[in-house]
Symmetry: C2
């Protein structure tokens, strides 16, 4: 049932992205191609799904959340394009396909990333009859804070500079909270905003998102050790090979598995007061720790 | 008198940028340092000045325009950091100082650019008691459209792919209109928005900006031929050396000089109906074609 819901949300945001991108045309078709290539590459669309799930949890409509779903995927997509660059993680493969700078070239990849990042804010600020200007503005603010030098970019910078260094657990958690947690949390926040959520709903989603984000990262680290290259779409063991700090390296694989279960329970507990509305989010927390890629 | 005004506006936006940046802190001080280095590097602050000039032209207050002035400089600054990267223009010198990726490293420069770009939208969406949410949202929209794949990034992509190619005058104008013109125009538009300008004021500023932007670029091309390295802060003749398409290469130096005078007259003519209010903008149009760097 969750699988079908996630597939529906994935298809929905893909349709939205396709049609919104197809309306665009600039001087340089190669730039548009690179944006399209990076955005429509068969990703899981986890962050848009979080937007939709949060909207539905808060009794909002999917229509109100479409723009936010597209915007957050544009941000996620830009971050992957820039992270893969030679000066950054230097990855040639992403989801089993050549990364943007390999399929195109490095300059085009830098610019496509810049364009996707900028597009996210263009989307969120477009005239929208389904939500108020005040809420749209709050969405822009939330996304900018989560994505920029107080959030994702900060985490990425810290990550790059900690390769080969021994981090404490506190530092590693802070890094991931910025690098991946901020975007997961803001996905839920955007969904809540689009539905004009109550304080209680927003706060529950915040706590849920923090647990979910940490679980997501721990699971990623475990998959890097345990998964295989074909399923992951990237070379297995690539974090280890680069001597990147990971949770399993710091606390051990067994401790990580126990931690995942704790986090899943925490995520479920904060949603309990909301009864059956939280069903899909509860199932998602289970899915995040069970997935094999 | 214009020189003093521009100095005041420059000092004003520098103070604003300094204080707004100093409030920030993330996990990675190196990222903050790179942002500060790139943003506070002694630029002319032409785009913030345009915001302030447009605001004053429309009888707005400078306070209402401060945030927009900072945001547009953040965008300009990010674009320079990314343009200078090895995969792009590969410049080691900017205003006589090492470029960001030389002073820091390439990964940090990519991230600092991303962070500055994102910060611009964070700034524009911050709670602001001096302007309405509706106008703030319009500012976000205008800046995103001017900066992204329909504007500056598109122009930069087209520019990179036209090195060594023979462009027509129409193509060259379209490229510069996207690459530098869009940001100049949106600076004036942000100033107009902050002052809740009339349609007539906004339209006059749009026409003025288009003439000014083209004049700015033609003058830049001329300076690349005629200026010297010390005054320009970059190697003289660098466009020629890279076989970049330029206006002088296409229509000749003499024709460019005549064109500059025509554009300056055009810029002045559209402002005439507004009388003495347009004095500073008129003087600026003269300054743009007279400058030696």
């Amino acid at each position: 049932m969750l699988t079908e819901l996630l597939r529906n949300y994935r298809d929905r945001v893909e349709d939205q992205l396709q049609s919104r991108l197809s309306e665009r045309s600039g001087l340089e078709p190669r730039l548009q191609d690179a944006m399209r290539y990076s955005l429509l590459n068969g990703g899981k669309r986890m962050r848009p799904a979080l937007v939709y799930l949060a909207t539905r949890f808060c009794r909002g409509s999917l229509e109100q959340a479409d723009t936010a779903a597209c915007a957050i995927e544009a941000i996620h997509s830009y971050s992957l394009v820039h992270d893969d660059l030679p000066a950054m993680d230097d990855d040639e493969l992403r989801r089993g396909k050549p990364t943007c700078h390999i399929a195109f070239d490095e300059a085009t990849a830098i610019l496509a990333g810049d364009a996707l990042l900028t597009w996210a804010f263009e989307l969120l600020s477009q005239p929208d009859s389904t939500i108020t200007a005040q809420i749209q503005l709050q969405m822009v603010q939330a996304l900018a804070r989560a994505a920029g030098d107080l959030g994702m970019v900060d985490g990425q910078a810290f990550d790059l500079n900690s390769v080969g260094k021994q981090l404490t657990l506190v530092q590693l958690k802070a890094m991931h909270s910025a690098k991946t947690g901020a975007l997961i949390n803001v996905a839920l926040e955007l969904g809540a905003l689009s539905a004009e959520a109550t304080e209680a709903e927003t706060e529950a989603l915040r706590q849920y998102g923090t647990a979910l984000g940490l679980a997501f990262q721990i699971k990623d680290d475990l998959l890097d050790i345990e998964g295989d290259t074909a399923t992951l779409g990237k070379p297995q063991g690539s974090d280890q090979a680069r001597n990147k700090p990971t949770y399993p390296a710091l606390v051990g694989v067994e401790q990580c598995r126990a931690w995942l279960i704790e986090l899943q329970q925490e995520a479920v507990t904060v949603l309990e007061p909301f009864g059956s509305r939280s069903q899909a989010l509860v199932a998602l927390a289970q899915y995040v720790i069970d997935r094999d890629h």
